[in-house]
Amino acid sequence: MSLPRLELAPQPPEPPRRSFGWFILAAGSLALAFGLGEALVSLCLGTRQGILSWKTGNSVKILFAAPAVYLLIFLPAAVPFALLDRTLKQRWSEVAMVFGFTTLFGISVTTLMRPWFSASASVILGLGMASVVSRIYNSDRTRWGLALVSSAPRLAAAALLIGVIGAGSASVVERLTIARLPAVTSSAPNVLLIVMDTQRADHLTPYGYARPTTPRLARLAEEGVRFTRATSPAATTLPSHSSIMTGQLVGEHGAGVNGKLFLDRRFPTLAERMRDSGYLTGGFVANTYWTGRHTGLNRGFVHYEDFYGSLMDGFTRTVMGRAIAYQLFPMFGRVDIPGRKRAEDVNRELLGWLDSRRGRPFFAFLNYFDVHAPYRPPPGWAGRFSSPGDSVARTRRIEIGAWNEGTVPDSAVLAAWRDRYDESLLYLDHEIGALLDSLAARQLLEHTIVIVTADHGESFGEHGTVHHGATLYLEQIHVPLILWGPGRIPAGKWVDRPVDLRAIPATVLEAVGVPTLGFHGRSLFASLDSRDTTGDPALSEGPLVPGNPPTWQTGKGWVKSAVTQRWHLVQLESGDRELYDLRIDPAELHNLAAVPELRDTLTALERALPGTFGGNIAAGSLR
């Protein structure tokens, strides 16, 4: 009679009971190995546009951050396993630790692959990976347990080395790129392009706002040109910034359309043209969700500062850190964006870079994120326009804005939102002033052309919407636009002609004497000429955004808009049209599209609308 095969197989000897130090060392090894693993997966996925999502963008600094965050989570998590091992008779605690940590890693890396794996698939895959690893571990615990603790120093050295090489290589590439830049004349002016994310025009002092929100920008407008009817090409960040950089309509560059959440390489960018003309090009962005390098907006910049503006941002660059910060923190009343980069951080990054890179004119692009929801002015600024009540934190979650439900709260909350928004703007104005003063102290400002604008506006209950990206009414697309440059830009000029931000590349290139070929034809300098009577309407587009609330226009289909000196036409994919007379109805409350006497006006405006979405209605409707 033969015995079953399993009983004949040699069983590995039971390892000695693990010490507390063993659990800590083993957890450290797993943290370093898995942290490096997530970092490498993230970097590999980042090499191809469109894989990383708006929340998972990253840079090479993840090589430092991910092992550190894993250590921060795994080391304390190892303590209960160590205590269990001492108290329980059964010896399953160490295998459970390996299983648990591997599950977290598996879920993390598959979560990064969101275009391919849903949340539930990520969990099953994570559990599957953990099952395989813990089965192998359990087959010879003595051997693998020893390997785990003995590899800790080697893994630490490897993590450090890879991190240093990764971070150093970015600096070397930048230096090599600058060394290859063509010569540029010493008289060429610097250009500072400031985009205030989510800043509607009518909350600025130079645009007639009753509150003194922007004394410094008011001064800048007095000394330069203010465009009173500037509109953004879109009501969300990525499409609008893409138009600002390429001079193209949203439907042409396609960023933010049909689920394509990046700017592809079909059109040249302003930064590329400036770099190829010998300019030092630097981008310093605070809205890393929608202007981080994963969006492609970094193209043409020899230096781009997006992620890792703070330790907290470094924490949220990993999947586990992000989950903790976004799910756990709000439970304790922390409803601001974790690691939000403030204007002072953006300024510090720019000035530090300028101090280390002298000798060439610069083109610097700044994106400030201070007034964006959740409306949280920095400490010391809240309460400047009212009591510093906390009605913003009416929910226990982080209200990022355009990507939340979009239900309109009651009037008291809306009023508190406006107060906090204005206080954030007051802070931002102060910081813009501080930056200009710092540039002046370095003798750089007098040779600099400054452009101040915004990528879109913000609703506070108008037309039944909040935040942005919902519609193309003026509160979401009317943005400030100020040009300033001593000796180059006329002072104290008001331009009432409608313009849209696609004109920025041509304007900058014309200002610095570089051919504008390949960019939207008319620069803003043409609009400065009072004899110019072209009267082209300012155009905006709102692509369908699957997932937007169905009460929003962009939740149901695309939206197009044309603004002239007097009229504003809003056309929906459904065929509905809205026409407003801005002279008598600036709040856009009375739709005149059905008035027979205005049929010719309506037809003329419809002809002016961009036709770009017309050809891809079917694709745009995919959900």
Binding site: A121, S122, L125, G128
Partner: protein, 52 residues
């Protein structure tokens, strides 16, 4: 037939990839979790067809 293939190719996009790869991933994950049972089942099926 060509038209059918062409129509199917047009239909396949990112929105269709996610459910497909998620199902495949979940199947792969489940196989990894229940590896021994899967191998046992495979052996049993194999023994039906292949007599030693």
């Amino acid at each position: 037939m060509h038209l059918l293939g062409f129509s199917l190719a047009l239909y396949v996009g990112p929105d269709q990839i996610l459910p497909l790869t998620s199902i495949l991933g979940a199947i792969g994950g489940a196989i990894m979790i229940f590896w021994r049972q899967v191998v046992g089942l495979f052996r049993r099926i194999r023994s039906v067809f292949v007599r030693e």
